[in-house]
C-alpha cells in the first residue's frame, strides 16, 4: 500500500513526522523540567519555597521581596508532622565569585557554586562516586568542607578518589568530603561544580534577620508519605501564625509550590499566572496537532475520492460503515506510526544537536545560566511517558485526519460511489 502511492505516503509520513517531532520536543522540554530525573528523583514528593515578601506592619514603605527565605524559617518548619526532610540551597553562591586554582595550569577558575545544607543530599538523590554528604556538623562548622562534581574533581586532581584532599578556594584550603556524579545544567536547581556548606563565605547567616522571613535561601521540602497537600497546608499555617506575632507580614503568595507550579513562578510579589502559561502551551500543542492534521485530512479526502468505487463495491457486498472505517483507520495507522518513528528520530536529533538551545527555549530568565555545556542524559530521552506520547499523538492524528474524510465519503449512496469511476 505504501509503495502503491508514493506521493501520498511521503507527504502523509512527513506531515505526521513534523507533528510528532514538534509535540515531542515540547514534551521533552517539560519532561526535563517536571519529571523525576537525576538527581531530582523526588520532585513529585517535593514542595518548593523560593520567594518571600515581607511588609513592615508599622511602615508600608519598609518592604522587601526576595528570591528566597532566611534561616529563621528552619525552626518554624522543622517539626511539621508531614515534613520528612528540608533541603536548603542558595544560588547566591554564584555571586560570591569564588575562584579555584586548577593545579595543572595554575588557572584561576570560577566554578558554579551551590551553598547547601545537610538535608540537600537527602532530598536530592545524588550518586556519590566517593565520600559522603555533609553532616549537620559540617554545615555548622567553621572548618570548611566541599563536595565536588565528578568532572570538577577530574579537572583538579585528574581522578575522583580524592576524599580528604584539599582544594584551594578563594585562597583557603578546603577539604573535600565527597564526589558526586555530575548533574546537568538542565536541572539547574541542583547543578553545581562545587558544593559548599550553606553559610560558607558569610553571605548567608544562621542568625536572625530584620527583614521578616525574606532571604536568599531556596527551600525544598520533602513530604512524608507523599502527602504534599497536607505539608503545604501545614507550612502555610505555620507562616501565617508566625506573621501574626512578627513585626512583618510575611507573604508567600500560595507557596509552597509543587515542582511544576514553581516553574511558572517568576516574581516574589504576586501569584504566578499559571493559567495563562498553560494556555500558551496548549495553543502551541493545538497548532502542532491540528495544522498537520488538516493537511492529512485533505490528503485522505482526495484518496477517498479515488477509492470511492472500491468503497461502493465493498458496501454493495454487505460491508458495514463500521468495518470500512475500521479498514481505513488501520491502513492509516500504519502510515501514522511510520511518521511517528520519523518524528521521534527528528525530535531526538534536534534535542541532541540543539542541547541547551532547545531545552531552555521557554526560559525567559537565564541570569544564572553561564556558558556551560548542557549535558543530555539518556533518561531525558528514553522513557515510557515519551513513547506513550508518540503513540498517543499518532492515534490522535490518525483519528482526526482519517475519521472525518472517511465518514464524509461513506455518506454517498452505493450507486454514486460505484458510478464515480466509470
Amino acid at each position: 500500500m505504501m509503495k502503491q502511492n508514493r506521493l501520498f505516503t511521503t507527504i502523509y509520513v512527513a506531515g505526521t513526522g513534523l507533528s510528532v517531532a514538534f509535540t515531542l520536543i515540547l514534551f521533552i522540554i517539560y519532561y526535563v523540567k517536571f519529571a523525576p530525573i537525576y538527581p531530582e528523583y523526588n520532585r513529585n514528593r517535593t514542595l518548593v519555597v523560593n520567594s518571600m515578601s515581607a511588609v513592615n506592619k508599622e511602615n508600608d514603605n519598609n518592604y522587601s521581596c526576595n528570591s528566597g527565605v532566611n534561616a529563621r524559617i528552619f525552626d518554624l518548619l522543622k517539626n511539621l508532622p508531614h515534613l520528612d526532610k528540608m533541603a536548603a540551597a542558595s544560588n547566591i553562591g554564584d555571586f560570591l565569585g569564588v575562584t579555584i586554582v586548577i593545579p595543572e595550569t595554575n588557572e584561576q577558575y570560577s566554578p558554579i557554586v551551590q551553598l547547601v545544607n545537610q538535608d540537600f543530599w537527602e532530598v536530592f538523590t545524588f550518586r556519590f562516586v566517593s565520600g559522603h554528604p555533609f553532616t549537620e556538623a559540617d554545615v555548622a562548622s567553621t572548618l570548611p568542607k566541599a563536595i565536588l562534581s565528578e568532572s570538577m574533581a577530574k579537572r583538579i586532581f585528574a581522578q575522583t578518589d580524592v576524599v580528604g584532599r584539599f582544594i584551594s578556594l578563594d585562597g583557603k584550603d578546603v577539604q573535600v568530603c565527597g564526589v558526586v556524579k555530575d548533574a546537568s545544567t538542565a536541572t539547574s536547581v541542583t547543578m553545581g561544580e562545587v558544593y559548599l556548606p550553606l553559610y560558607w563565605g558569610g553571605l548567608l547567616s544562621p542568625e536572625a534577620h530584620d527583614t521578616g522571613l525574606t532571604g536568599n535561601i531556596q527551600l525544598y521540602l520533602l513530604s512524608k508519605d507523599d502527602d504534599v497537600e497536607a505539608l503545604r497546608t501545614e507550612v502555610q499555617e505555620v507562616v501565617k501564625q508566625h506573621s501574626l506575632q512578627d513585626k512583618y507580614d510575611n507573604k508567600m503568595f500560595g507557596q509552597p509550590d509543587t515542582w511544576w507550579e514553581n516553574y511558572f513562578r517568576t516574581s516574589c510579589a504576586g501569584e504566578p499566572d499559571i493559567a495563562s502559561a498553560i494556555r500558551g502551551i496548549l495553543y502551541m500543542l493545538l497548532a502542532f496537532l491540528f495544522i498537520p492534521a488538516l493537511n492529512l485530512c485533505g490528503m485522505i479526502s482526495s484518496r477517498m475520492d479515488e477509492r470511492m468505487s472500491e468503497l461502493g463495491v465493498r458496501k454493495a457486498y454487505g460491508a458495514t460503515n463500521r468495518s470500512i472505517i475500521h479498514q481505513v483507520l488501520t491502513e492509516n495507522l500504519l502510515l501514522t506510526l511510520v511518521g511517528g518513528l520519523l518524528g521521534l528520530a527528528l525530535a531526538y536529533t534536534l534535542v541532541c544537536m540543539g542541547g541547551e538551545l532547545v531545552l531552555s527555549i521557554f526560559n525567559e530568565d537565564m541570569y544564572f545560566n553561564r556558558d556551560y555545556p548542557m549535558a543530555i542524559h539518556l533518561e531525558m530521552l528514553i522513557n515510557l511517558p515519551l513513547f506513550l506520547t508518540v503513540l498517543g499523538v499518532c492515534v490522535l492524528l490518525n483519528l482526526i485526519s482519517a475519521l472525518v474524510p472517511t465518514i464524509v465519503a461513506l455518506r454517498h449512496p452505493i450507486i454514486y460511489s460505484i458510478h464515480s469511476k466509470r
Binding site: 512527513a14 578563594d170 585562597g171 545560566n369
Partner: protein, 437 residues
C-alpha cells in the same frame, strides 16, 4: 483567464476545503508568531545613538573580607589610588583613544539599571511637569568624556560634545533628544534647567542624539550626570567600571590578547584584580541571551518554520493530486499551443487565489484579535511611559506590516509548493497525457 480560474477554484471547492481551512488556521498562527519577532526587529534596527566598534568595558574584581588572598593592611586611600592607577594603565595603552570611569552599568546593555525623575520646576504641586528617565553617571577627572568614548553625537549640530573640566562642580547635565522633547517640547534645550527630587537645579549643557540602552527595547529618556567622587565600599567592584575605546585601525583581537597578557596582571593592587574585558558587542549579545530575548526569537522562528513547512506540504500535496487529476487537461492545453510557462502561471494564479482567499478570512479574525489588545507590545524596562515611537511602532502600521510580512511568507512558500508538482506535470509530453483521454 482569471474569471476562468476563479470558476475552476469554485468548482473544486470541496477538494479545496481542507487546504483552505489549513491555510486560514496556519495564517492566523503564523501572524501571531511573526508579530513579536516584528516588534523585536523594529527595536533592534532603531539607531543605537552610539558606536559599538572598538568599545570596551573593563570590570575588576575585589578580594572580599573573608578571602584568603585579602591584604588586610590596605587602606581606603590606597583603594582610591588603585582605581586611578587602573584607569591610567588603560589610558596609557597605545591602542586606547580615550577611557573613563563609569558607575552602575552606565554603558549600553549593562545589567543594572539606574533611573530617576527630573522636574521642570520646584513647585510642590501634584501635576508638576516631570520626566522619568534612566541616568548614566561618569567621572570626568583627567579628561573623561563619555560622549567621545561611546561615539555619541550632539543632536543639534551632529558634532562632538565637549565636557568642561568643572562640569561636575557646576551641576551640568546632558540629556537625550527624547528627554528634551518630553520635558520642553523641543530639542533646543541647552541652557535650560531641570530639578532633581531634592530640588537641586541642573543646567543642560548639551542635548545628545537619541540613545538606545537595550538592543531589543525602544528608546526612552536618558540623562547623563557627572560624579567625580569615588565611594569606597565592599561592593565598589560592582559599582565602578572602566569604559574605553580603541583608536581606528587597531586589531581588536590582538589588542585583547596583549592586554590580558601584559596589562591585566598589573591591575592586581589594593585587593583589586582584573576580572574581564567585555566588548560592547559581547555585552549586547550576552544581555539578550540572559534576559531570554534570543530564546523568544528562536522559539517564534521555530514555530513559524513549522507553520510554513505544513503549508508547503499541504500545497505540494494538493497541487500534486490536482496535476494528476488534470493530466489530460494539461495535455490538451499543451497540444493546443499553451506554453509550459502559461500552464505554470495558471496554477500559480490558482494557488495565489487560494492563499489570498484564506488570508482574507484569517485577517478578519486577526483584526478582532488585535482589537482585543493582543498584539505584541513595544515595551521597555519598567514600562517607562516616555518612549520614542516611530511609524513602525504605531498600532495601524504595526498591524499592516505584520500582515504584509505574513501574507508574503505564505505566498512564497505556497508558490514553491505549487511549482514543484506543476513543473513536473508540464514536462509530460502532450501525447502521453492525452493517451488517458
Amino acid at each position: 483567464m482569471l474569471k476562468n480560474i476563479i470558476k475552476q477554484v469554485w468548482n473544486q471547492r470541496r477538494q479545496n476545503g481542507w487546504i483552505l481551512l489549513e491555510l486560514i488556521i496556519a495564517g492566523f498562527f503564523l501572524w501571531t508568531v511573526i508579530d513579536p519577532v516584528y516588534v523585536l526587529t523594529v527595536n533592534h534596527f532603531t539607531p543605537k545613538g552610539y558606536e559599538e566598534d572598538g568599545r570596551y568595558v573593563l570590570r575588576f574584581g575585589a578580594y572580599g573580607e573573608k578571602h584568603g588572598m585579602r591584604d588586610t593592611t590596605v587602606t581606603k586611600e590606597q583603594q582610591k589610588m588603585a582605581i586611578d592607577n587602573m584607569l591610567r594603565l588603560v589610558r596609557d595603552c597605545p591602542e586606547v583613544e580615550s577611557a573613563l570611569l563609569v558607575q552602575n552599568s552606565s554603558f549600553p546593555n549593562g545589567g543594572s539599571w539606574n533611573g530617576a525623575a527630573y522636574y521642570a520646576d520646584t513647585l510642590k504641586s501634584d501635576d508638576r511637569k516631570h520626566v522619568s528617565t534612566q541616568e548614566y553617571t561618569f567621572n570626568n577627572a583627567g579628561g573623561g568624556n563619555i560622549f567621545k568614548t561611546y561615539g555619541m553625537k550632539n543632536a543639534l549640530t551632529g558634532g562632538d560634545i565637549e565636557v568642561p573640566q568643572d562640569a561636575g562642580g557646576r551641576n551640568l547635565i546632558y540629556v537625550s533628544e527624547n528627554f528634551a522633547r518630553h520635558m520642553f517640547g523641543t530639542t533646543d534645550a541647552v541652557g535650560k534647567k531641570v530639578y532633581d527630587y531634592r530640588d537641586r537645579a541642573h543646567e543642560i549643557a548639551a542635548v545628545f542624539k537619541d540613545y538606545k540602552h537595550r538592543d531589543f527595547e525602544p528608546i526612552y529618556p536618558l540623562i547623563i550626570s557627572i560624579n567625580n567622587k569615588v565611594r569606597i565600599s565592599p561592593y565598589m567592584h560592582w559599582t565602578y567600571m572602566i569604559a574605553f575605546n580603541l583608536k581606528e585601525g587597531v586589531d581588536e583581537d590582538a589588542f585583547v590578547e596583549r592586554f590580558e597578557k601584559e596589562v591585566a596582571p598589573n591591575m592586581a593592587m589594593a585587593n583589586f584584580f582584573f576580572d574581564r574585558l567585555l566588548s560592547f558587542e559581547k555585552q549586547r549579545t550576552t544581555w539578550a541571551k540572559q534576559n531570554g530575548t534570543y530564546n523568544v526569537i528562536r522559539l517564534k522562528l521555530a514555530l513559524a518554520s513549522f507553520a510554513l513547512l505544513c503549508i508547503f506540504l499541504g500545497m505540494v500535496g494538493t497541487f500534486w493530486i490536482r496535476c494528476n487529476a488534470r493530466r489530460q487537461e494539461i495535455g490538451l492545453m499543451r497540444s493546443l499551443g499553451a506554453t509550459k510557462k502559461g500552464i505554470t502561471s495558471r496554477f500559480l494564479t490558482e494557488s495565489t487565489l487560494l492563499i489570498t482567499a484564506a488570508f482574507v478570512v484569517s485577517l478578519i479574525i486577526l483584526v478582532h484579535y488585535a482589537m482585543q489588545d493582543n498584539m505584541a507590545k513595544f515595551q521597555c524596562t519598567g514600562d517607562m511611559e516616555f518612549m520614542s515611537v516611530n511609524w513602525f511602532m504605531e498600532e495601524n502600521p504595526h498591524f499592516l506590516m505584520v500582515s504584509v510580512i505574513t501574507y508574503l511568507a505564505l505566498l512564497v512558500i505556497a508558490w514553491v509548493g505549487t511549482l514543484i508538482p506543476v513543473i513536473r506535470a508540464t514536462k509530460v509530453l502532450p501525447a502521453d497525457a492525452l493517451r488517458d483521454e
